[in-house]
């Protein structure tokens, strides 16, 4: 029982943090207005942290609840599908890489960011029935690497500040 309460509390706190980061990100004016989808991906700091200091389950929960709530608060149904596709692919890749222990926190974050962008492109291809989004993919791979490095460094800093796993 005690454990259950703890899990709920932790998930709640981290989801709240992720939502706040998503909101902060909305306040930052887009760097390239003509290329939507290029953003820092600040909520991913929380997801990366959870992967290293809690477990994959809580990362999945926080990510999905975060997307649902952020969509209801600030966005629309179409954006929800894009976010969801990105998040699912990104989570899968990051959980896998975390388990394999091949990369550093920054590497996992880069892979996650790029996977997120590729997931969105795949969803766009599916929804728009257009396979011609190739140009977009290049821009999103580049931006994914840069965003991934930044988010990964933030995540690594946080992980260092909390040396032991959260129980």
């Amino acid at each position: 029982m005690n454990n259950k309460i703890k899990t709920i509390t932790f998930t709640g706190i981290f989801t709240a943090l992720a939502i706040i980061l998503a909101y902060v990100e909305l306040l930052i004016p887009p760097l390239f207005p003509s290329l939507p989808g290029i953003k820092m991906g600040l909520p991913n700091i929380i997801i990366v942290f959870l992967l290293y200091r809690k477990d994959a389950t809580s990362a999945i929960f926080v990510s999905l609840i975060r997307i649902l709530l952020v969509t209801m608060l600030f966005s629309n149904a179409m954006a929800f599908l894009y976010s969801l596709a990105g998040a699912v692919l990104s989570l899968l890749i990051m959980i896998l890489l975390r388990k394999l222990n091949l990369l550093s926190v920054v590497g996992v974050s880069i892979a996650g960011a790029v996977a997120h962008n590729i997931g969105q492109i795949l969803m766009a291809m599916l929804l728009l029935d257009s396979s011609e989004l190739g140009f977009y993919l290049i821009a999103l791979v580049f931006s994914g690497i840069i965003a991934g490095v930044f988010v990964g460094l933030c995540g690594a800093l946080l992980i260092k500040k909390f040396p032991s796993k959260l129980h």
Binding site: M78, L103, S104, G107, D129, S130, E132, L133, G134, L137
Partner: protein, 132 residues
Amino acid sequence: MEKQKTTNKRHLRNDIILVAVLLLFAIACGIYLFFFRATGDAVKVTVNGKPYATYSLSENREVNIYTGNNKQLNRLIVKDGKAFIETATCPDKICAEHRAIFRDGESIVCLPNRVVVTVIKSDKTDAPDAVT
């Protein structure tokens, strides 16, 4: 401690390999798209994933693409062999800011109105106004 150090080194090396592979992939895509793609000769417009119309790039024209029960509009301009969206009623106006397209396979996407304009290479440019 020593073990941690070697692990960190290995991680860093793998990180660099990951970034290098991703960059190579992006650059390869870029080279392919920019150099090996011929100029197209027509634009295909799809709305909601369904074909809407095809227009030849060889003659200048202005087309209004109405979507969403005629409430939404994307104004497509074909000029000097290139196509671009001049104005749009969608909230983000990303399609209107997109540069003119002319290479085979290039596209302008308007996500809110679900309009996609793609350059194609067609053999039947004799029916440029055909609404499919």
